[in-house]
Symmetry: C2
Subunit: 275 residues, 2 copies
Amino acid sequence: MGFFAQLDAAIKKNNSLLCVGLDPNPSLMPPGVDALTFNKTIIDATADIVCAYKPNLAFYEAAGQQGWDVLKQTINYIPKGIPVIADAKRGDIGNTSQAYAAAIFENLGAGAVTVSPYLGLDSVEPFLKNYPDKGVFILCRTSNQGATDFQSLPVKIDNLEMPLYQAVARKAEQWNTLNNVGLVVGATYPAEMQELRKTHPDLPFLVPGIGAQGGDIKLTLETGLNTEGKGIIVNSSRQILYASRGSDFAKNAALAAETLRQEINLYRQPCNKEN
Amino acid sequence: MGFFAQLDAAIKKNNSLLCVGLDPNPSLMPPGVDALTFNKTIIDATADIVCAYKPNLAFYEAAGQQGWDVLKQTINYIPKGIPVIADAKRGDIGNTSQAYAAAIFENLGAGAVTVSPYLGLDSVEPFLKNYPDKGVFILCRTSNQGATDFQSLPVKIDNLEMPLYQAVARKAEQWNTLNNVGLVVGATYPAEMQELRKTHPDLPFLVPGIGAQGGDIKLTLETGLNTEGKGIIVNSSRQILYASRGSDFAKNAALAAETLRQEINLYRQPCNKEN
């Protein structure tokens, strides 16, 4: 079963579009709790509330080889039915991207990855073609302020003028011959999300940017869902992981996740943009 | 002493613009030699021939936590006078990029890093501002075929039209308030390199793409050097590391490196593009 089919199954089983970002940050974690214990506790508390987990590799690499070990053990610990997206934002020349793909899909055993488009097709192809059962989310319109620096620039492609992020989405659609491509589209830019949904009705969106980054849930769902009321998953990291720094952190994380799941579900209905 | 001053010192000491990419690939390495031994042997054989080493993180991450340990030990083993560029091509939202910067500059102890520009200023800033003595090479015009997919697209920025890679270089120049920024410019696109050198006479270029990727040394030097005969370092990985797979691999790597150093030096002279 391919990644997106697994994701659909998890969405149905837990009635959830919520992805929890597993980003252990020592300065925000409860004192005295190590990263692996923290992750396991968060997973135990939220595994029936989420549709996916998304560890960002940066927070593990900051702790060096020990961090990599924690990451691997964390991924192993996640219940089999819940897909794992390695948020790695990788992208390099072909033979090097293949090494990254091996790291993420083989060594770590993640089900999907985020990749950067800047180097073009041959930097993304090893992830796409050599691992057809894995998912590949291409950075399109990111949630951060600096996203406007380049992603908003008007470009000319195929004799059409559009912002760079639209050109990336256009290429991503062309590269999606195995139905294993999605886009990263930040909740902080709802107008752009709406435009992307219109031009790419079938591409799945991984949506960061709600909570600490300020994205709005109602707007995200209204603009990001496809006509079948599907097609997006919404990530939250800090808002859930660090709901409390006390010994009750797991309980509060579960509560924050459940609240968010319900809030998302409130706005989750088939909406036909044409009506 | 900042990274670029250290690099200048190494260039002078070894009379070399050659950077060797330390990319241990099990399928190309001499049989029976582990990655750490391989790297140490290559370093012993080439340390007086190069101006820098550039390990690409992908080849270490493919081996998981053990690979990270090999990378760290490799960086520790490199003689103090020779700067290390971690070829990581990272870039994420601010707090995450800070975790990557900690991984690369603090945990690994590298002197410089390569970063991707797609997420804009706040994705690059933690590397630049929080570690002013480190070097940051921003991907501009990469050496691979897919570079044309987005980097060549005409964009409009500050009311000017230029290819995206020129817009990236323009921003990089603006972000270079601490003189710790360089660009990655592939040897496989000499016309683009020439144009970038003209518009950015002072930015240092890290140049991949000679050897296995087909870039031409003479053209690279002619187009990439600044008017003082400086401003570029030329990377080679496979051509040197895998000059031989026999027990004589170190000797052959040294010979390949020395040949390349001399070939580069042959074309290395102050050239004033105006004459």
